[in-house]
């Protein structure tokens, strides 16, 4: 890697990370020596793939013909009328094959794993969307797939567990800790250390050791790049605000990154406030955490006074993570992106509103973004434009929502 490529240019938010994988002070490669040579190998392979037109062509073929990209940009007119302010557009990532944005980066990573000669793929999953996407890609390419999923999440995301199994993946429930996404990631890292020779770890978000945060971001940028083209075609100008839920933050980085240098575009990352920011039960790493090191990177973490990691909580399994991607931590500190929150209740309300007004059942993750749109749109003039990343569909969540609404199905 030439330093020239990695030196941040002045007046740009899009040049990170540096050659150490840092976004400002965040990111890096905090892994055991056993993993370090692998991480470096992934980095070399990614650098080579990036420069290979054949890699890009193959990925784009898959995105178009297998995933169904570009995903539409939908003017949510009934919701817009209901909120009585800014025009609200949905970036319809939920229409992708497998029902969420995760498949974008998974297919690229699986192509990378193939280039590296790896035959076995492991992944961690929270809501199960990344697990399903990984299982799908592995089925498509005939690769062995093992998905680590917290036992708590296995319980609350049964439909996705069944999907993964149908796709030929092995789902390993993780019982350590609280049995959620954080513990699944620990277990996947342990698996990788033990199976270095034949295994590729397909990380689902913009976190983990370098190069994962930049690599997954680059692969998800297809979202924001399409939005830019689509909104210019529809409105002849850029949006005034972008909104997206953040757990690890891959869908948000994918939407935000192509717009970071457009000063007129405000950005809102929405963290899960769970039962409330002032309770112990939330997943708001940026709003209530502080910097630390976990899962290979320095970032904002929910932790106690002694540096022990706290359990996160959210009604949405995909946001139930006590950390966040390091680039978000940096964007938070420099103030380029506003990180706000939505509670379980606000997300549930948004979930129902969207279903009734737009005929779209959103994922509970995306419903957190929608909750921010509900707050934001009425404060903006009618000629303003908001784009929400509707990152996933809500079929997987209907059981959880029904339970919260006191309905038995």
């Amino acid at each position: 890697m030439g330093n020239a490529v990695n030196q941040p240019l002045p007046n740009s938010f899009r040049q990170g990370p540096d050659s150490r994988g840092r976004f400002g002070p965040f990111g890096g490669r905090f892994v055991a020596e056993t993993l370090m040579p692998l991480i470096l190998e992934v980095e070399r392979a990614y650098d080579a793939a990036k420069r290979d037109p054949a890699f890009k062509a193959e990925w784009q073929r898959l995105l178009k013909d297998y995933v169904g990209r570009p995903s539409p940009l939908w003017l949510a007119q009934r919701l817009t009328d209901h909120l009585g302010g800014a025009k609200v557009y949905f970036k319809r990532e939920e229409l992708n094959h497998t029902g969420a944005h995760k498949i974008n980066a998974v297919l690229a990573q699986i192509l990378l794993a193939r280039r590296m000669g790896r035959k076995r793929i492991i992944a961690e999953t929270g809501a199960g969307q990344h697990g399903v996407a990984t299982a799908t890609a592995c089925a498509l390419f005939g690769l062995q797939c093992v998905v680590y999923m917290g036992a708590t999440d296995v319980e609350r995301q049964q439909p996705n567990v069944f999907r993964m199994k149908l796709l030929g993946a092995e789902v390993r429930p993780v019982t350590s800790g609280a049995g959620t996404l954080k513990d699944a990631m620990n277990e996947a890292l342990r698996d990788w250390v033990a199976n270095v020779a034949d295994t590729y770890y397909c990380i689902g978000t913009v976190a983990g050791p370098h190069p994962y945060p930049v690599m997954v971001r680059d692969f998800q940028c297809v979202i924001g790049e399409e939005v830019r083209e689509q909104i210019l075609a529809a409105e002849g100008r850029l949006p005034d605000a972008l909104v997206c839920a953040v757990g690890g933050g891959s869908s948000a980085m994918g939407l935000f990154h192509p717009f970071l240098d457009d000063a007129s575009v405000a950005m809102y990352g929405v963290e899960a406030a769970g039962r409330g920011l002032d309770t112990e039960e939330h997943a708001a790493s940026l709003n209530r955490g502080r910097p630390g090191v976990l899962h290979g990177n320095r970032t904002y973490l929910l932790q106690d006074a002694h540096g022990q990691i706290r359990e996160a909580h959210s009604i949405s399994a995909g946001l139930d993570y006590p950390g966040i991607g390091p680039e978000h931590a940096w964007l938070h500190e420099i103030g380029r992106v506003n990180y706000v929150t939505a509670t379980d209740t606000e997300a549930l309300d948004a979930f129902q509103l969207c279903s009734r007004l737009e005929g779209i059942i959103p994922a509970l993750e995306s419903a957190h973004g929608l909750a921010q749109v509900i707050k934001l749109a009425p404060t903006m003039a009618k000629d303003r434009i908001i784009v929400l990343n509707l990152s996933g569909r809500g079929d997987k969540d209907i059981f959880t929502v029904a339970r919260h609404l006191g309905v038995e199905i």
């Binding site: 020596e33 040579p37 692998l38 800790g177 033990a194 630390g292 899962h295 290979g296 540096g307 022990q308």
Partner: protein, 276 residues
Amino acid sequence: MSRIADRFAALKREGRGALVTYLQAYDPDPATSLAILRGLPGAGADVIEIGVPFTDPMADGPAIQRAAQRALKAGATLAGVLAMVRDFRSEDATTPVVLMGYFNPILSYGVDRFCTDAAASGVDGLIIVDVPPEEADEIEPQAKAAGLDLIRLVAPTTDEQRLPRVLAATSGFIYYVSITGITGTRSATTEQLAAAIPRLRRHTELPLAIGFGIRTPQQAAEASRIADGAVVGTALVDTLAASLDEQGRARPDTVRRVLDQVRSLAEAVRAARQVA
């Protein structure tokens, strides 16, 4: 010379390798843990490795994960671990003590203050699992200034190209992770070790200890014969765990059972003659 260098040099003169024993601080409670710690030198431990409990020990297997959970439940903190080392040092001035753990509790404590306090408490070296040489500037200057050795893991995956960089960032001794995997899951064969250790010897003068997967007196003897030391961790943690009652509390014989096992390991290590 540091306690670590002194000890390895003394054992070399004796013609044998070191028995390095691991215990998780505060497992299952501070008093039991301190009693084991105090008993280790008498039972034959040459170097003591103290695990600092962390919620997310990503390089550790189930046994040490559970030990960390017990320890955290018993109120373990980094400050508490340092206090334990001070208590130990009031009785033992010569046995090297190495803290092994993860970076976040140290970051939270404050890297500068931690290195100063650790050295003042009688800690000799640090193994920080998730700080590879690439991130060494996070703690190396402070550790050096405080006179603490930074002991690094070398893995079977550490290739020839990378090895010099890892070794250059290491002091005290080299901790050779004998398997690709996490603690307490599988063991390397004698043949694998016999091939790996000479490879490292070509690159370093530092003592070499072999860890991960050494469970029995025979394996410990073998490893200490091939290298300069054998680290036994999970096997001792397993013994401790098996001695607990249904609520996870220590029983009257918990300390004795762990120390008895250390004695049998030490006997085997002391009987083994090193390869010249």
